[in-house]
Amino acid sequence: MTAIFYLIAAITVAGGLAAVLLKNLVHCALAVTVAFGGIALLFLSLEAQFAGFVQILVYIGAVAILIVFAILLTRGSDIPKDGVFSKTWLTGVAIAAAVFAVIGYAVINSVNAIPQQDAVPHVTVHDIGLALVGPYVLPLEIVALLLTAATVGAVIVAMHEKGGSE
């Protein structure tokens, strides 16, 4: 529990809160980018270098940009007249709070029950690569297939329907 952890955690949570609370959708997207970056830093602080960089590459480099594109394509940067929050926002917040309360309670009560090792695991990219093409080769192939399908699907879904009733 170092100062760096608190700092990063604060940045992450602030980014997440801003993403949820800000009115302008583009601001939300940028805020969520900050949250993604914070999570990546948390990964790095957990000695998971590879996962951290992948997180930056995928989330900041791709998902954030994708969200921004979607916002601009759907004119989402205009703030709607009847508010950005739904009428039942209070219920939503209450439910979210309940979830946090329950999980937090569970974590606090049970975290000490798990055996912990503090030694820094020495895992290189080489090991991860070997694991990916070794024991995890089947998930890797499935993910490859999934990404291909998702690419094709996204293209088709977003493609202009020719001769549609526009």
């Binding site: 999570i39 990964f43 996962a51 979830v99 974590v107 606090i108 503090d118 991860i128 990404l147």
Partner: protein, 103 residues
Amino acid sequence: MTPLGGYLLVAALMFAIGLAGALVRRNAIMVLIGIELMLNSANLNFIAFWRYGPHPEALTGMMFAIFSIAVAAAEAAVGLGLVIAIYRHTHTTEIDKINRMKG
């Protein structure tokens, strides 16, 4: 509080924030953003358990996180594609207005 507990709490908080975002925002893209936050917090849990778990050399948590990131990327692409397609039909992304199964 152990370091693991800290990470888990942060993850829980991020999960709750993402859930709140998905529940209270009216824009479909915001719902997606909330879901992404929830996924990220789950990843954080995986990595944290990998780091402080008994067998980090097994790489299980790490692999879970990596695959989850890959799948989340695909999910984001398809989800946003859907939002755009819905927007083309209904000219809105307000999720409480999109409640019919007809385009």
